[in-house]
């Protein structure tokens, strides 16, 4: 492997890891308030469609990402209302979102572009180089010549780490996920906090979906998400519910994704499907080796009945 291959691999790793990272952070915010949301895959699919459509119509990828994020909040509010207010099972409802949101996305796509759709294409977000940092030899051009989404996601990692560990509001937030009754006793509005968590989660999950259609490929197709929502869920567990850990996990999974693409190009003898399995198999392997005996927030996945003793 020569130098350019390695630098290609690093660029691809960062590009592949970014949607995972944004969505995994969304899940982190959700689970810190005790809300396990396995509907990320569905929210991403819907975000990907909305992002694509807005980008196709206006040609403005930034607006597209914001619209997709708002759409993600909208979808996640269905989940939030049913799990928080109606106390429905979070797993079952996440699954309902996983079935509902992609169906809606695929329907809207067919209505807009017709049943026998020609391949519609939108503009991609351009990379923005950071003036001084990009001149650092070796890594400068690799890490500081990316789309703004990439910078924002890493900024978010730092903000999240500070918020959850160094601010009062962040500690209150975590208390809701650990022991909601105690949090309520201390005067924290648990229900409101859970709703806020779902808004944040929907926002970032929608934006992460839009990344796929505004920064990665310039078309929308059914199944564009390809299980990334579930890999992001695995990244949260693997990263042990901390934002730096989640970042490392996403970079690792992004690396395997980049690696399989590179290996596919390099080899004609071995069927490409075997390489495409790498990210999924590695996720399983990583969880098997390092993912045991760790526990997330204590009240994760438990519905909160306010009146219950």
């Amino acid at each position: 492997m020569d130098g350019s291959t390695i630098s290609d691999l690093i660029i691809a790793t960062v590009r592949m890891a970014t949607p995972l990272l944004i969505v995994a952070l969304a899940e982190l915010y959700s689970e810190r308030a005790g809300m396990v949301n396995i509907g990320l895959d569905g929210i991403m699919a819907f975000g990907a469609l909305v992002g694509f459509l807005v980008c196709y119509w206006t040609g403005n990828p930034y607006l597209a990402v914001i619209c997709a994020a708002v759409a993600g909040v909208g979808v996640n509010m269905v989940y939030a209302f049913c799990t928080i207010t109606l106390c429905a099972n979070q797993i079952v409802y996440g699954m309902a979102i996983n079935i509902f949101a992609p169906a809606l996305a695929s329907f809207i796509y067919r209505v807009v572009f017709g049943v026998s759709s020609t391949l519609a294409q939108a503009t991609l977000m351009k990379t923005v180089a950071i003036p001084v940092l990009k001149d650092i030899p070796l890594f400068g051009k690799l890490l500081f010549d990316q789309t703004p989404m990439v910078y924002l996601s890493y900024l978010l990692v730092i903000i999240t780490a500070i918020y959850f560990n160094r601010t009062k509001s962040g500690l209150n937030y975590k208390a809701v996920g650990e022991y909601p009754k105690a949090a309520e006793t201390m005067g924290i509005n648990v229900i409101r906090q859970k709703y806020i968590a779902c808004i944040i989660c929907g926002f970032f999950a929608g934006a992460g979906g839009a990344y796929l259609t505004t920064c990665y490929v310039n078309t929308y197709s059914d199944g564009v998400v390809a299980g990334r929502g579930f890999i992001a869920l695995a990244a949260v567990i693997f990263g042990r519910w901390t934002s730096p850990g989640v970042m490392m996990a996403c970079l690792l999974f992004g690396f395997f994704d980049a690696l399989q693409l590179r290996l596919q190009i390099g080899s004609n003898l071995i069927p490409y499907q075997l390489f495409q399995m790498i990210p999924y198999v590695m996720t399983l392997l990583a969880l098997t080796l390092l993912g045991n005996k760790i526990s997330g927030p204590k009240a994760n996945c438990k519905p909160y009945f306010r009146e219950e003793r």
Partner: protein, 351 residues
């Protein structure tokens, strides 16, 4: 008790009705005539004997996938891997029927057994990961799904490919599962599906092992203290639910599809989850809901041709049914709603 059963039937019925109303509003917004569209839908599903038989054929894999989810979830396991287990079953059955070099009913039996074993094995893997490393089965089963789908791609493009088109050879004629009526596509597979449904219902609700399995799902801690082996019940649920899906894959490939092509079995796993949830995890109801899904699928093609409404509107209706059904049954457990209904029913009895 009667009230509870009544609600269990009423909620899915209301959800279906509500979802259809919203679906018709969507069709109206698209500028089509919803009554006409629904008319086409039902004509497509029940209009001729052939169409009617197609709905039965279509329901078979859905019944198996629904039962797969239903069985595992009764033990507290959320098996999202129905699709992967289904595909592994189909691939194993196809491989046996093609590679054994003979054809006949005994090969059919062998192929079906291979399908059951392959599906069970694909269910066993996440089961082992859960009991040995405590891994969340929702993530692992999804990962195994993708591996199975890609493996199927490898099978039809390289390993068992026939000719220039990326597809496998067809199952030999004598190995195919035979049809019940000579000129309709319904095979004995549907009988197997219904029998599995009845067997699952009998096992879960009328045997002590089934009771213990449900107890593990309901409260693992209490089951552990009662001396039920939580781990082995969970493992059993994984394997049996995988085996059901594998049997479904084998019956489908040997009876209906005959060869693997791109996109085969796509979405069956999530359909199974939706069906089991709407059926409130009752095996018999799962069979009925699966048939309902098949009716929508078959009818929607006629609807698309007849009225120009895309088939994907059916996906939305299905998704809405599950959203309403789950929300409805969750609502029944809320304290305020419980009080409201007990008042309502109490008054009726007094009057």
């Amino acid at each position: 008790m009667l009230k509870k059963n009544f609600m269990n039937v009423l909620i899915p019925m209301l959800s279906i009705l509500l979802a259809f109303i919203i679906g018709m509003i969507i069709i109206l917004c698209m500028g089509a005539n919803p009554i006409q569209a629904i008319g086409f839908l039902f004509r497509g599903a029940f209009g001729t004997v052939t169409n009617l038989s197609n709905t039965v054929v279509r329901s078979m894999p859905l019944i198996f996938c629904g039962l797969c989810t239903c069985f595992a979830y009764r033990c507290g396991i959320f098996n999202l891997g129905g699709e992967g287990q289904f595909l592994m079953g189909a691939m194993a059955a196809l491989a046996v029927s093609l590679l054994i070099g003979a054809e006949g009913p005994w090969v059919t039996v062998l192929a079906i057994v291979a399908g059951i074993l392959a599906g069970g094995f694909w269910g066993l893997l996440p089961g082992i990961l859960k009991s040995w490393r405590g891994l969340n089965e929702m993530i692992t089963t999804i990962m195994f799904n993708y591996v199975a789908v890609l493996f199927m791609g490898f099978v039809y493009t390289s390993a068992l490919r026939e000719g220039s088109v990326p597809q496998t050879a067809a199952v030999p004629d004598l190995t195919k599962i035979s049809r019940i009526f000579p000129n309709l596509r319904i095979t004995w597979g549907i009988v197997i599906a219904i029998l599995v449904g009845i067997a699952a219902w009998y096992f879960l609700f009328h045997t002590s092992k089934g009771f213990q399995l449900r107890a593990v799902g309901f409260n693992p801690t209490a089951s552990q203290f009662n001396g039920f082996s939580v781990k082995s019940y969970r493992l059993m649920a994984f394997v049996v639910s995988g085996a059901i899906a594998g049997l479904g894959g084998a019956s489908d490939i040997l009876g209906t599809q005959f060869r693997l092509i791109s996109g085969y079995g796509s979405g069956y796993g999530f359909d199974g989850v939706a069906i089991a949830l709407i059926a409130q995890l009752d095996p018999i109801a799962t069979v009925i809901v699966a048939y309902f899904f098949a009716v929508l699928r078959v009818g929607s093609t006629t609807m698309q041709v007849g009225s120009g409404v895309p088939t994907s509107v059916i996906d939305i209706i299905q998704a809405l049914v599950i959203i309403f059904a789950v929300a409805g049954s969750a609502m029944m457990h809320l304290p305020t709603v419980k009080v409201f209904f007990s008042n309502l029913f109490g008054k009726k009895e007094a009057a």
